[in-house]
């Protein structure tokens, strides 16, 4: 079974700081998704990356897919309290979604 490791596991930062979280696997991804989950709710999709080296931006969030398609990163610029949540990466296929271990982010006002 393919394992997705995310780091760090927990992150607590002040509003306005920048941060990067990582998602790594020992195997090559065909594609990867990032989700954010708030307490008591289901995860919601942020982005899908498919091509090695791909970079996608979503307002203050920048997502990068590694050239070898074995890792991905999420960078948040000038974090805000509304960014607080659990960030999950996921391997996707035609019908299966395998999720990473998660990074819990807390942004303090």
């Amino acid at each position: 079974t393919q394992l997705l490791e995310q780091s760090p596991q927990f992150l607590s930062i002040q509003e306005g700081e920048n941060l990067t979280v990582y998602c790594n696997s020992s195997s090559v991804f065909s594609s990867l998704q990032w989700y954010r989950q708030e307490p008591g709710e289901g995860p919601v999709l942020l982005v899908t990356v498919v091509t090695g080296g791909e970079v996608k931006k979503l307002k203050r969030l920048t997502f990068q897919f590694g050239d070898a398609r074995k890792d991905s990163s999420l960078h948040i610029t000038a974090a805000q309290p509304g960014d607080t949540g659990l960030y999950l990466c996921s391997l996707t296929g035609t019908y299966k979604y395998i999720f990473g271990t998660g990074t819990r982010l807390k942004v303090l006002a």
Binding site: G40, T94, F99, T101, G102
Partner: protein, 114 residues
Amino acid sequence: SQTIHQWPATLVQPVGSPLSLECTVEGTSNPNLYWYRQAAGRGLQLLFYSVGIGQISSEVPQNLSASRPQDRQFILSSKKLLLSDSGFYLCAWSPSGRKNTEAFFGQGTRLTVV
């Protein structure tokens, strides 16, 4: 538009009692359906998925079972709950036959086995 309903939102059950969690999807046909379990603040563990009526794939051996009696209905069951079955259970669906699509999640059921 498509919607997913999952119930109940919270459940407290004694050890050894049965379990039935239900999930239904509206506004689409032949969806792929999923049951996940999440430990507190951690990632999602895939328990079961289904690509069609009566077709269930189990990802991990456990005390749980799943059924899909109708196209858009997915049920998670147990005959006798264990303390270790406590957790946050999430149902999800995705469009069938397409790669790299989004998985849409229900609001989850927080199960506490006492």
